[in-house]
Amino acid sequence: MITLKINGLDVQVEEGTTLLEAAKFFGFPIPTLCHKDGLSPYGACRLCVVEIGEGPQAKLVSSCTYPAEEGLKVRTASERVVKARKMVIELLLASCPQSKIIQDLASAHNVHQQRFKQEYEDCILCGLCVRMCQEQMMAKAIGFRGRGERRSIGTPFDIKSDECRLCGGCMYICPACQLRCTYNEPEKAICGACANLSPPCLDKEEFKDMMCYMEPCVACEIKDE
Protein backbone atom coordinates (compact mmCIF):
# COMPACT_ATOMS: atom_id res chain seq x y z
CA MET A 1 0.00 0.00 0.00
CA ILE A 2 1.11 3.52 -0.74
CA THR A 3 0.31 6.44 1.50
CA LEU A 4 -0.19 9.84 -0.08
CA LYS A 5 -1.96 13.09 0.65
CA ILE A 6 -4.80 14.23 -1.53
CA ASN A 7 -6.01 17.75 -0.73
CA GLY A 8 -4.55 17.40 2.75
CA LEU A 9 -6.23 14.07 3.45
CA ASP A 10 -3.99 11.08 4.18
CA VAL A 11 -5.09 8.17 2.02
CA GLN A 12 -3.82 4.71 1.25
CA VAL A 13 -4.05 3.13 -2.17
CA GLU A 14 -2.72 0.02 -3.85
CA GLU A 15 0.47 0.25 -5.80
CA GLY A 16 -0.08 1.03 -9.47
CA THR A 17 -3.18 3.13 -8.84
CA THR A 18 -3.23 6.34 -10.83
CA LEU A 19 -3.85 9.66 -9.13
CA LEU A 20 -7.15 9.94 -10.98
CA GLU A 21 -8.39 6.60 -9.68
CA ALA A 22 -7.24 7.42 -6.16
CA ALA A 23 -8.87 10.85 -6.14
CA LYS A 24 -12.12 9.49 -7.56
CA PHE A 25 -12.17 6.68 -5.03
CA PHE A 26 -11.86 9.11 -2.16
CA GLY A 27 -14.49 11.41 -3.58
CA PHE A 28 -12.50 14.22 -5.12
CA PRO A 29 -14.00 14.99 -8.49
CA ILE A 30 -11.64 15.43 -11.42
CA PRO A 31 -13.15 16.19 -14.82
CA THR A 32 -12.00 13.97 -17.69
CA LEU A 33 -12.55 13.84 -21.40
CA CYS A 34 -10.14 11.40 -22.97
CA HIS A 35 -10.35 8.93 -20.09
CA LYS A 36 -12.87 6.12 -20.07
CA ASP A 37 -12.98 3.06 -17.87
CA GLY A 38 -11.97 0.02 -19.88
CA LEU A 39 -9.61 1.97 -22.12
CA SER A 40 -5.96 2.58 -21.38
CA PRO A 41 -5.05 6.01 -19.98
CA TYR A 42 -3.80 8.34 -22.67
CA GLY A 43 -3.23 11.80 -21.18
CA ALA A 44 -4.26 13.67 -24.30
CA CYS A 45 -6.89 16.17 -23.18
CA ARG A 46 -5.09 17.47 -20.05
CA LEU A 47 -8.44 18.13 -18.40
CA CYS A 48 -7.50 15.94 -15.47
CA VAL A 49 -4.47 18.01 -14.44
CA VAL A 50 -3.61 18.06 -10.76
CA GLU A 51 -0.84 19.79 -8.89
CA ILE A 52 1.79 17.68 -7.16
CA GLY A 53 4.76 18.61 -4.99
CA GLU A 54 5.25 21.73 -2.96
CA GLY A 55 6.69 25.20 -3.28
CA PRO A 56 8.85 25.82 -6.34
CA GLN A 57 8.84 22.10 -7.14
CA ALA A 58 5.08 22.03 -7.56
CA LYS A 59 4.04 21.03 -11.03
CA LEU A 60 0.98 20.11 -13.03
CA VAL A 61 0.62 16.54 -14.21
CA SER A 62 -2.16 14.63 -15.89
CA SER A 63 -3.65 12.52 -13.12
CA CYS A 64 -4.92 9.78 -15.44
CA THR A 65 -1.37 8.73 -16.35
CA TYR A 66 0.47 9.54 -13.11
CA PRO A 67 0.90 6.61 -10.72
CA ALA A 68 0.49 7.22 -7.01
CA GLU A 69 3.80 7.62 -5.20
CA GLU A 70 4.68 7.25 -1.54
CA GLY A 71 4.35 10.56 0.29
CA LEU A 72 3.11 12.47 -2.74
CA LYS A 73 1.12 15.63 -2.03
CA VAL A 74 -1.66 16.11 -4.53
CA ARG A 75 -4.00 19.04 -4.92
CA THR A 76 -6.91 18.41 -7.25
CA ALA A 77 -8.48 21.85 -7.18
CA SER A 78 -5.85 24.43 -6.32
CA GLU A 79 -6.01 27.84 -7.93
CA ARG A 80 -3.35 26.87 -10.43
CA VAL A 81 -5.16 23.67 -11.37
CA VAL A 82 -8.48 25.39 -11.85
CA LYS A 83 -6.88 28.07 -13.99
CA ALA A 84 -5.12 25.52 -16.18
CA ARG A 85 -8.26 23.44 -16.48
CA LYS A 86 -10.34 26.44 -17.53
CA MET A 87 -7.77 27.28 -20.18
CA VAL A 88 -7.86 23.72 -21.50
CA ILE A 89 -11.64 23.85 -21.72
CA GLU A 90 -11.53 27.20 -23.46
CA LEU A 91 -9.09 25.84 -26.03
CA LEU A 92 -11.14 22.69 -26.56
CA LEU A 93 -14.22 24.83 -26.97
CA ALA A 94 -12.44 26.90 -29.59
CA SER A 95 -11.44 23.88 -31.62
CA CYS A 96 -14.76 22.13 -31.37
CA PRO A 97 -17.52 24.52 -30.22
CA GLN A 98 -20.32 22.36 -31.63
CA SER A 99 -19.61 19.44 -29.30
CA LYS A 100 -22.27 18.94 -26.68
CA ILE A 101 -19.84 17.26 -24.30
CA ILE A 102 -17.37 20.15 -24.44
CA GLN A 103 -20.17 22.69 -24.09
CA ASP A 104 -21.35 20.89 -20.96
CA LEU A 105 -17.82 20.89 -19.57
CA ALA A 106 -17.50 24.60 -20.21
CA SER A 107 -20.77 25.28 -18.51
CA ALA A 108 -19.91 23.09 -15.51
CA HIS A 109 -16.58 24.87 -15.01
CA ASN A 110 -17.84 28.41 -15.50
CA VAL A 111 -16.00 29.04 -18.73
CA HIS A 112 -17.98 31.96 -20.05
CA GLN A 113 -15.55 33.57 -22.39
CA GLN A 114 -14.15 32.54 -25.73
CA ARG A 115 -10.96 34.38 -26.57
CA PHE A 116 -9.77 32.13 -29.37
CA LYS A 117 -10.91 31.79 -32.94
CA GLN A 118 -13.47 29.05 -33.32
CA GLU A 119 -12.25 26.36 -35.64
CA TYR A 120 -15.20 23.95 -35.81
CA GLU A 121 -12.86 20.97 -36.06
CA ASP A 122 -14.56 17.60 -36.21
CA CYS A 123 -11.85 15.95 -34.14
CA ILE A 124 -9.91 16.90 -31.02
CA LEU A 125 -7.44 13.98 -31.37
CA CYS A 126 -8.36 12.61 -27.97
CA GLY A 127 -7.69 9.10 -29.29
CA LEU A 128 -10.77 7.60 -27.65
CA CYS A 129 -11.98 6.03 -30.89
CA VAL A 130 -8.53 4.63 -31.68
CA ARG A 131 -8.33 2.97 -28.26
CA MET A 132 -11.93 1.81 -28.46
CA CYS A 133 -11.27 0.18 -31.82
CA GLN A 134 -8.09 -1.44 -30.64
CA GLU A 135 -8.77 -2.40 -27.06
CA GLN A 136 -12.48 -3.10 -26.88
CA MET A 137 -13.36 -4.05 -30.44
CA MET A 138 -10.03 -5.78 -31.17
CA ALA A 139 -10.15 -4.41 -34.68
CA LYS A 140 -7.36 -1.84 -35.14
CA ALA A 141 -9.19 -0.40 -38.09
CA ILE A 142 -8.48 3.25 -37.37
CA GLY A 143 -5.43 5.05 -36.09
CA PHE A 144 -3.48 8.27 -36.15
CA ARG A 145 -2.01 9.46 -39.40
CA GLY A 146 0.55 12.16 -40.08
CA ARG A 147 1.87 14.48 -37.41
CA GLY A 148 1.80 18.00 -36.11
CA GLU A 149 -1.01 20.12 -37.46
CA ARG A 150 -1.71 17.50 -40.11
CA ARG A 151 -2.34 14.74 -37.62
CA SER A 152 -5.65 13.05 -38.19
CA ILE A 153 -7.56 9.92 -37.33
CA GLY A 154 -8.87 7.53 -39.91
CA THR A 155 -8.39 4.32 -41.80
CA PRO A 156 -5.20 3.64 -43.79
CA PHE A 157 -5.34 5.24 -47.24
CA ASP A 158 -8.77 6.69 -46.36
CA ILE A 159 -10.57 3.68 -47.74
CA LYS A 160 -12.83 1.29 -45.91
CA SER A 161 -10.64 -0.93 -43.79
CA ASP A 162 -10.83 -4.71 -44.01
CA GLU A 163 -10.65 -4.84 -40.23
CA CYS A 164 -13.64 -2.54 -39.75
CA ARG A 165 -16.81 -4.42 -38.86
CA LEU A 166 -18.92 -1.27 -38.84
CA CYS A 167 -19.42 -1.77 -35.13
CA GLY A 168 -19.80 1.93 -34.57
CA GLY A 169 -17.80 1.92 -31.34
CA CYS A 170 -15.78 4.87 -32.53
CA MET A 171 -18.89 6.91 -33.20
CA TYR A 172 -20.38 5.93 -29.88
CA ILE A 173 -17.41 7.07 -27.84
CA CYS A 174 -16.47 10.21 -29.78
CA PRO A 175 -16.96 13.45 -27.82
CA ALA A 176 -16.86 15.63 -30.91
CA CYS A 177 -18.34 13.50 -33.57
CA GLN A 178 -21.43 14.82 -35.29
CA LEU A 179 -19.42 16.04 -38.24
CA ARG A 180 -17.40 12.85 -38.75
CA CYS A 181 -20.17 11.35 -40.86
CA THR A 182 -19.01 11.04 -44.46
CA TYR A 183 -22.50 10.67 -45.86
CA ASN A 184 -21.67 11.87 -49.34
CA GLU A 185 -18.79 9.41 -49.66
CA PRO A 186 -20.30 6.15 -48.44
CA GLU A 187 -17.25 4.11 -49.44
CA LYS A 188 -15.32 5.96 -46.72
CA ALA A 189 -18.10 5.82 -44.20
CA ILE A 190 -17.71 4.04 -40.94
CA CYS A 191 -21.35 4.06 -39.97
CA GLY A 192 -22.95 6.13 -42.64
CA ALA A 193 -25.57 7.84 -40.55
CA CYS A 194 -25.68 11.36 -39.31
CA ALA A 195 -27.82 13.74 -37.42
CA ASN A 196 -28.51 15.84 -40.43
CA LEU A 197 -31.80 17.60 -40.86
CA SER A 198 -32.26 15.97 -44.27
CA PRO A 199 -30.72 12.59 -43.53
CA PRO A 200 -28.75 11.37 -46.51
CA CYS A 201 -29.00 7.75 -45.44
CA LEU A 202 -32.73 7.60 -46.00
CA ASP A 203 -33.82 5.34 -48.86
CA LYS A 204 -30.38 4.94 -50.32
CA GLU A 205 -29.07 1.55 -51.40
CA GLU A 206 -25.48 2.05 -50.25
CA PHE A 207 -26.52 2.56 -46.64
CA LYS A 208 -28.87 -0.40 -46.52
CA ASP A 209 -26.46 -2.81 -44.86
CA MET A 210 -25.01 -0.29 -42.43
CA MET A 211 -26.00 0.01 -38.85
CA CYS A 212 -26.73 3.33 -37.27
CA TYR A 213 -25.30 4.34 -33.94
CA MET A 214 -26.28 7.95 -33.64
CA GLU A 215 -28.42 8.78 -30.72
CA PRO A 216 -30.68 10.42 -31.39
CA CYS A 217 -30.66 9.83 -35.14
CA VAL A 218 -33.09 11.91 -37.12
CA ALA A 219 -33.06 9.46 -40.00
CA CYS A 220 -33.96 6.50 -37.84
CA GLU A 221 -36.78 8.40 -36.23
CA ILE A 222 -38.20 9.26 -39.62
CA LYS A 223 -37.86 5.63 -40.73
CA ASP A 224 -39.68 4.38 -37.68
CA GLU A 225 -42.64 6.64 -38.20
Binding site: K140, A141, G143, F144, G146, R147, T155, P156, F157
Partner: protein, 291 residues
Protein backbone atom coordinates in the same frame (compact mmCIF):
# COMPACT_ATOMS: atom_id res chain seq x y z
CA UNK B 1 0.54 0.99 -61.65
CA UNK B 2 1.00 -2.54 -60.42
CA UNK B 3 4.45 -3.33 -59.20
CA UNK B 4 6.29 -6.47 -58.37
CA UNK B 5 6.23 -6.65 -54.60
CA UNK B 6 8.06 -9.92 -54.08
CA UNK B 7 11.28 -8.19 -52.91
CA UNK B 8 9.29 -6.67 -50.03
CA UNK B 9 8.83 -10.07 -48.41
CA UNK B 10 12.55 -10.66 -48.61
CA UNK B 11 13.26 -7.31 -46.97
CA UNK B 12 10.87 -8.10 -44.12
CA UNK B 13 12.34 -11.59 -43.71
CA UNK B 14 15.83 -10.13 -43.65
CA UNK B 15 14.96 -8.20 -40.50
CA UNK B 16 13.51 -11.35 -38.98
CA UNK B 17 9.96 -9.92 -39.04
CA UNK B 18 10.91 -7.89 -35.99
CA UNK B 19 8.43 -5.21 -35.08
CA UNK B 20 11.15 -2.85 -33.97
CA UNK B 21 12.63 -2.88 -37.43
CA UNK B 22 9.58 -1.49 -39.21
CA UNK B 23 11.24 1.86 -39.88
CA UNK B 24 14.33 0.18 -41.30
CA UNK B 25 12.13 -2.01 -43.50
CA UNK B 26 10.17 0.95 -44.78
CA UNK B 27 13.42 2.78 -45.49
CA UNK B 28 14.66 -0.08 -47.60
CA UNK B 29 11.36 -0.43 -49.42
CA UNK B 30 11.39 3.26 -50.17
CA UNK B 31 14.96 3.01 -51.48
CA UNK B 32 13.76 0.23 -53.79
CA UNK B 33 10.64 1.87 -55.26
CA UNK B 34 11.33 5.51 -54.61
CA UNK B 35 8.16 5.63 -52.53
CA UNK B 36 5.98 3.33 -50.46
CA UNK B 37 3.36 1.64 -52.62
CA UNK B 38 0.21 0.77 -50.62
CA UNK B 39 0.56 -2.97 -51.27
CA UNK B 40 4.00 -3.01 -49.68
CA UNK B 41 2.61 -1.60 -46.42
CA UNK B 42 0.10 -4.43 -46.41
CA UNK B 43 2.89 -6.97 -46.83
CA UNK B 44 4.88 -5.40 -43.99
CA UNK B 45 1.82 -5.43 -41.76
CA UNK B 46 1.00 -9.07 -42.54
CA UNK B 47 4.54 -10.31 -42.03
CA UNK B 48 5.37 -8.40 -38.86
CA UNK B 49 2.01 -8.86 -37.22
CA UNK B 50 1.67 -5.11 -36.86
CA UNK B 51 -1.72 -3.78 -37.84
CA UNK B 52 -1.92 -1.90 -41.10
CA UNK B 53 -2.99 1.16 -39.13
CA UNK B 54 0.24 1.17 -37.16
CA UNK B 55 2.44 0.72 -40.22
CA UNK B 56 0.49 3.43 -41.98
CA UNK B 57 0.85 5.81 -39.06
CA UNK B 58 4.61 5.27 -39.03
CA UNK B 59 4.78 5.82 -42.78
CA UNK B 60 2.83 9.06 -42.56
CA UNK B 61 4.59 10.31 -39.44
CA UNK B 62 8.07 10.57 -40.89
CA UNK B 63 8.65 13.15 -43.55
CA UNK B 64 11.24 11.07 -45.36
CA UNK B 65 8.62 8.48 -46.28
CA UNK B 66 6.46 9.22 -49.27
CA UNK B 67 3.25 7.43 -50.17
CA UNK B 68 3.09 9.14 -53.53
CA UNK B 69 5.41 8.26 -56.41
CA UNK B 70 8.32 10.62 -56.58
CA UNK B 71 10.00 12.13 -59.62
CA UNK B 72 13.24 10.94 -61.08
CA UNK B 73 15.26 13.61 -59.33
CA UNK B 74 14.59 14.38 -55.68
CA UNK B 75 15.51 17.92 -54.75
CA UNK B 76 15.72 18.57 -51.00
CA UNK B 77 16.08 22.16 -49.91
CA UNK B 78 17.20 22.52 -46.32
CA UNK B 79 15.17 24.90 -44.15
CA UNK B 80 16.84 24.01 -40.87
CA UNK B 81 17.79 26.85 -38.56
CA UNK B 82 21.26 27.45 -39.98
CA UNK B 83 20.12 27.25 -43.62
CA UNK B 84 17.02 29.30 -42.79
CA UNK B 85 18.99 32.29 -41.55
CA UNK B 86 21.29 32.03 -44.54
CA UNK B 87 18.42 32.32 -46.99
CA UNK B 88 17.01 28.81 -47.37
CA UNK B 89 13.39 29.96 -47.84
CA UNK B 90 14.41 32.15 -50.81
CA UNK B 91 16.12 29.14 -52.40
CA UNK B 92 13.03 27.02 -51.89
CA UNK B 93 10.88 29.74 -53.43
CA UNK B 94 13.18 30.00 -56.41
CA UNK B 95 12.98 26.23 -56.97
CA UNK B 96 9.20 26.43 -56.73
CA UNK B 97 9.15 29.19 -59.31
CA UNK B 98 11.55 27.53 -61.72
CA UNK B 99 10.00 24.08 -61.52
CA UNK B 100 6.45 25.43 -61.40
CA UNK B 101 5.50 23.24 -58.44
CA UNK B 102 5.04 23.72 -54.73
CA UNK B 103 7.24 22.08 -52.13
CA UNK B 104 6.22 18.46 -51.70
CA UNK B 105 4.96 18.15 -55.25
CA UNK B 106 6.26 16.42 -58.34
CA UNK B 107 6.47 18.00 -61.78
CA UNK B 108 3.90 16.65 -64.27
CA UNK B 109 6.67 15.11 -66.39
CA UNK B 110 7.77 13.12 -63.31
CA UNK B 111 11.27 14.54 -63.54
CA UNK B 112 11.58 16.53 -60.30
CA UNK B 113 10.19 16.21 -56.82
CA UNK B 114 10.76 19.23 -54.61
CA UNK B 115 10.97 18.76 -50.87
CA UNK B 116 11.83 21.03 -48.03
CA UNK B 117 13.58 19.31 -45.15
CA UNK B 118 14.35 20.49 -41.68
CA UNK B 119 18.00 19.60 -41.41
CA UNK B 120 20.41 17.68 -43.58
CA UNK B 121 23.13 17.63 -40.98
CA UNK B 122 25.45 19.78 -43.02
CA UNK B 123 24.83 23.12 -41.33
CA UNK B 124 28.37 24.31 -41.96
CA UNK B 125 27.67 24.38 -45.70
CA UNK B 126 24.31 26.14 -45.67
CA UNK B 127 22.16 26.99 -47.38
CA UNK B 128 22.31 23.51 -48.72
CA UNK B 129 20.43 21.68 -51.46
CA UNK B 130 20.69 17.94 -52.00
CA UNK B 131 19.82 16.53 -55.38
CA UNK B 132 19.88 12.74 -55.62
CA UNK B 133 22.40 12.60 -52.84
CA UNK B 134 24.70 15.20 -54.32
CA UNK B 135 25.29 18.12 -52.00
CA UNK B 136 25.24 21.64 -53.36
CA UNK B 137 26.64 23.98 -50.76
CA UNK B 138 26.27 27.72 -50.22
CA UNK B 139 23.47 27.85 -52.75
CA UNK B 140 22.17 31.22 -53.86
CA UNK B 141 19.09 31.98 -55.93
CA UNK B 142 21.32 32.45 -58.96
CA UNK B 143 22.64 28.92 -58.69
CA UNK B 144 19.20 27.34 -58.69
CA UNK B 145 18.89 27.44 -62.46
CA UNK B 146 22.29 25.88 -62.89
CA UNK B 147 21.51 23.10 -60.44
CA UNK B 148 18.34 22.24 -62.37
CA UNK B 149 20.21 22.35 -65.66
CA UNK B 150 22.96 20.16 -64.36
CA UNK B 151 20.52 17.68 -62.88
CA UNK B 152 18.72 17.39 -66.20
CA UNK B 153 22.04 16.76 -67.91
CA UNK B 154 22.74 14.03 -65.39
CA UNK B 155 24.78 14.34 -62.27
CA UNK B 156 28.19 12.75 -62.33
CA UNK B 157 28.44 9.32 -60.95
CA UNK B 158 31.77 8.27 -59.60
CA UNK B 159 32.74 5.11 -61.44
CA UNK B 160 34.06 3.00 -58.60
CA UNK B 161 36.21 0.86 -60.86
CA UNK B 162 37.26 3.59 -63.24
CA UNK B 163 37.98 6.28 -60.65
CA UNK B 164 41.74 6.21 -60.31
CA UNK B 165 42.20 9.70 -58.95
CA UNK B 166 44.33 9.92 -55.86
CA UNK B 167 44.80 13.14 -53.94
CA UNK B 168 44.76 14.13 -50.28
CA UNK B 169 41.66 15.79 -48.87
CA UNK B 170 41.13 17.62 -45.62
CA UNK B 171 37.73 17.01 -44.15
CA UNK B 172 35.61 18.35 -41.30
CA UNK B 173 32.32 17.50 -39.64
CA UNK B 174 29.36 18.70 -41.70
CA UNK B 175 27.47 19.59 -38.52
CA UNK B 176 29.98 21.47 -36.40
CA UNK B 177 32.65 22.15 -39.00
CA UNK B 178 35.30 20.91 -36.60
CA UNK B 179 38.26 19.39 -38.46
CA UNK B 180 38.37 15.61 -38.42
CA UNK B 181 42.06 15.49 -39.35
CA UNK B 182 44.45 13.79 -36.97
CA UNK B 183 48.03 14.82 -37.74
CA UNK B 184 49.39 12.69 -34.89
CA UNK B 185 48.34 9.52 -36.60
CA UNK B 186 49.45 9.01 -40.19
CA UNK B 187 47.95 6.64 -42.69
CA UNK B 188 49.50 6.44 -46.17
CA UNK B 189 51.95 9.08 -44.95
CA UNK B 190 49.19 11.67 -44.58
CA UNK B 191 47.24 12.85 -41.53
CA UNK B 192 44.34 10.46 -40.99
CA UNK B 193 40.65 11.22 -40.68
CA UNK B 194 39.44 10.38 -37.18
CA UNK B 195 35.81 9.54 -36.51
CA UNK B 196 33.95 7.52 -33.93
CA UNK B 197 32.39 4.31 -35.10
CA UNK B 198 29.74 2.15 -33.55
CA UNK B 199 28.41 -1.25 -34.54
CA UNK B 200 26.74 -3.90 -32.51
CA UNK B 201 27.71 -3.05 -28.96
CA UNK B 202 31.17 -1.83 -29.86
CA UNK B 203 32.04 1.82 -29.84
CA UNK B 204 35.50 3.12 -30.67
CA UNK B 205 37.69 5.19 -32.94
CA UNK B 206 38.19 4.67 -36.64
CA UNK B 207 40.90 6.29 -38.71
CA UNK B 208 40.54 6.59 -42.44
CA UNK B 209 43.14 7.44 -44.99
CA UNK B 210 42.75 11.02 -46.13
CA UNK B 211 43.93 10.09 -49.60
CA UNK B 212 40.97 10.20 -51.93
CA UNK B 213 41.17 6.88 -53.73
CA UNK B 214 42.75 4.97 -50.86
CA UNK B 215 40.60 2.66 -48.78
CA UNK B 216 43.06 2.08 -45.95
CA UNK B 217 41.50 2.20 -42.51
CA UNK B 218 42.58 1.45 -38.99
CA UNK B 219 40.13 0.91 -36.20
CA UNK B 220 39.98 0.16 -32.52
CA UNK B 221 37.76 -2.84 -33.15
CA UNK B 222 37.95 -5.09 -36.16
CA UNK B 223 34.78 -4.61 -38.21
CA UNK B 224 33.40 -7.76 -39.85
CA UNK B 225 33.02 -7.56 -43.64
CA UNK B 226 29.70 -6.19 -44.91
CA UNK B 227 28.75 -4.69 -41.52
CA UNK B 228 27.04 -1.33 -41.69
CA UNK B 229 28.77 0.96 -39.20
CA UNK B 230 27.41 4.13 -37.65
CA UNK B 231 29.81 7.04 -37.84
CA UNK B 232 29.90 9.92 -35.39
CA UNK B 233 31.80 13.18 -35.16
CA UNK B 234 34.28 12.87 -32.26
CA UNK B 235 33.74 16.56 -31.42
CA UNK B 236 30.01 17.26 -31.54
CA UNK B 237 28.97 13.58 -31.43
CA UNK B 238 26.48 14.11 -34.23
CA UNK B 239 25.86 11.04 -36.34
CA UNK B 240 27.42 11.37 -39.76
CA UNK B 241 24.63 10.03 -41.88
CA UNK B 242 23.52 11.25 -45.25
CA UNK B 243 19.94 11.31 -46.46
CA UNK B 244 20.78 9.10 -49.40
CA UNK B 245 21.70 5.45 -49.64
CA UNK B 246 24.93 4.20 -51.18
CA UNK B 247 24.49 3.80 -54.94
CA UNK B 248 26.39 0.51 -54.72
CA UNK B 249 24.89 -1.33 -51.78
CA UNK B 250 22.08 0.79 -50.32
CA UNK B 251 23.67 1.37 -46.91
CA UNK B 252 23.61 4.95 -45.55
CA UNK B 253 26.37 7.25 -46.78
CA UNK B 254 28.70 9.15 -44.45
CA UNK B 255 29.06 12.80 -45.43
CA UNK B 256 32.14 14.89 -44.67
CA UNK B 257 32.92 18.45 -45.66
CA UNK B 258 35.97 18.92 -47.82
CA UNK B 259 38.07 21.93 -46.95
CA UNK B 260 37.73 24.52 -49.64
CA UNK B 261 34.08 23.64 -50.14
CA UNK B 262 32.26 20.58 -51.18
CA UNK B 263 31.33 17.25 -49.82
CA UNK B 264 32.72 13.75 -49.91
CA UNK B 265 30.52 10.82 -49.01
CA UNK B 266 31.66 7.30 -48.31
CA UNK B 267 29.64 4.15 -47.82
CA UNK B 268 29.16 3.05 -44.22
CA UNK B 269 29.38 -0.63 -45.10
CA UNK B 270 32.69 -2.30 -44.41
CA UNK B 271 34.17 -3.48 -47.68
CA UNK B 272 31.88 -1.43 -49.94
CA UNK B 273 33.76 1.08 -52.01
CA UNK B 274 30.80 3.29 -52.85
CA UNK B 275 31.60 6.97 -52.60
CA UNK B 276 30.55 10.32 -53.99
CA UNK B 277 32.49 13.53 -54.35
CA UNK B 278 30.87 16.91 -54.87
CA UNK B 279 33.47 19.63 -54.88
CA UNK B 280 32.33 23.18 -54.71
CA UNK B 281 32.78 25.03 -57.91
CA UNK B 282 31.28 28.43 -58.37
CA UNK B 283 30.16 27.86 -61.92
CA UNK B 284 28.84 24.44 -60.88
CA UNK B 285 29.91 23.19 -64.28
CA UNK B 286 32.20 20.45 -63.10
CA UNK B 287 31.35 19.69 -59.55
CA UNK B 288 32.83 16.27 -59.66
CA UNK B 289 36.35 15.73 -60.78
CA UNK B 290 37.17 19.40 -60.59
CA UNK B 291 40.54 18.87 -59.05
Amino acid sequence: MQQDITPVSEIVEKYGRRRGAVIAMLEEIQALYGYLPPETLRVVSEKTGYSLVDVYSVATFYKSFSLKPRGKHLVSVCLGTACHVRGGPAIAKEFERQLGIRAGETTPDKEFTLMTVNCLGACALGPIVVVEGHYFSNVSSVKVKKIIKRTKAGLDKVEIEGDRRIFPVEVSCPRCNHSLMDSEHLIDGCPSVRVTQSFGRKHGWLRLSSLYGSYNVESEYEVPEKTVVNFFCPHCHAELRSAVPCPECGAPMVPMVVRGGGMVQICSRKGCKGHMLDLRNDDLESVSGGL
